[in-house]
Symmetry: C3
Subunit: 157 residues, 3 copies
């Protein structure tokens, strides 16, 4: 009966509040067994965090932390859309990891591992997902990483 | 029994013709209850419109109009793949909004609202979707915005 | 009972080995009838291939070959996740084609046709998919194209 918030805390991290969209879209939509999660950005104290581009002042290690922070936002949305238990997630299906970077940065996989490793740390084998990691020109509010996701939930969620 | 085309017209807009892909892909694929829609670009009189990059001659407001135009293309494809009624759409599940922009532009959410607001204006609560908005280097034929989508349809569609 | 590998060989191409992710994500996840495939990059002799950016030393034709190579990687993953038969795929649902390019390159559709045409050549009508083709700043390990995918499989796969 482990909660996602507790599993995150056991890693020495903190599940942030599920951020509210500031527009007409929503954070999650359920369709059949799938839960789609809107792109999440790193947040700290309610403000966008991890600002900048990888390769232009930010390192790959900075990017990994940004990806982890964005993935914590994904987990917060999943927890808010379910009863919050780790066991409510049958499988993390897909992560899209968008990395704001210079044209010569090629370490998107290392950056994306900040999100991927968190999923496996929280959900175990059910956290092993597909992903696409790409380097983009710019991201909302100047953050370094955005992560969107598709989860498969247990029946009853 | 409102038609998507009529709901769009009531907003003072015009549903464009569903554009035909110029290659071996298709505009929509149905899988179970889900309708996947290929990335659509703004079109006017059968030609790509809203050309350029946001932050380099185009403003965020230009981008919002480009996102609305691309989203009209999405609606045209959904109408063509169904009986065209608003009620055929159970839920707009996901929009991917790709914004061609300079590396210092961070207003992708405002741009993407041009697509998001249209969905809610046409479908009401069923139009409230998840989305990812990212800034990319360049888009097909030089347009400023591309939008792809996943819809959930009513049974029988 | 045609195998995907044989259909690829009949085109004068070679199905590469299914590459193993070098991190905590996985190459494919099955959810219901859908098979999600992680972003694949062009590989040759086990190494990333087709390096560079379109518009900066690489041509659209180079990009088309890179997209074909990345799509061969997608097919290798699908073959490894199923019994390998062409008939195991009910429909190619969606391709995401990410093209590393300069801001002034607008031929993403021509590049993406390298992936799209391969799907139709192997699967026929079942290969006719939706797609989004976008130009990005940079891709993992410096490759020119990355392709991710969603397939619908036949029951029993």
């Amino acid at each position: 009966m482990t909660l996602i918030a507790d599993a995150v805390a056991a890693l020495g991290l903190t599940l942030p509040p599920a951020s509210a969209p500031v527009a007409t879209y929503v954070s999650t939509v359920r369709s059949g067994a799938l839960l789609y999660v809107s792109g999440q950005i790193p947040m700290a104290d309610g403000q966008p965090a991890c600002l900048g581009r990888i390769g232009d002042g930010l390192s790959a290690a900075d990017g990994l932390r940004a990806a982890q922070a964005a993935a914590l936002g994904v987990l917060a949305q999943v927890a808010a859309a379910t009863d919050g238990r780790v066991a409510s997630v049958r499988q993390v299906v897909k992560l899209g990891v968008f990395v704001a970077c210079t044209p010569d940065f090629t370490g998107q996989p290392q950056v994306a591992n900040g999100a991927s490793d968190l999923m496996v740390a929280v959900f175990g084998d059910a956290g092993r997902h597909t992903r696409a990691a790409v380097g983009v020109a710019a991201l909302p509010r100047g953050v370094a990483v955005e992560v969107d996701a598709v989860f498969e939930l247990e029946a009853g969620q």
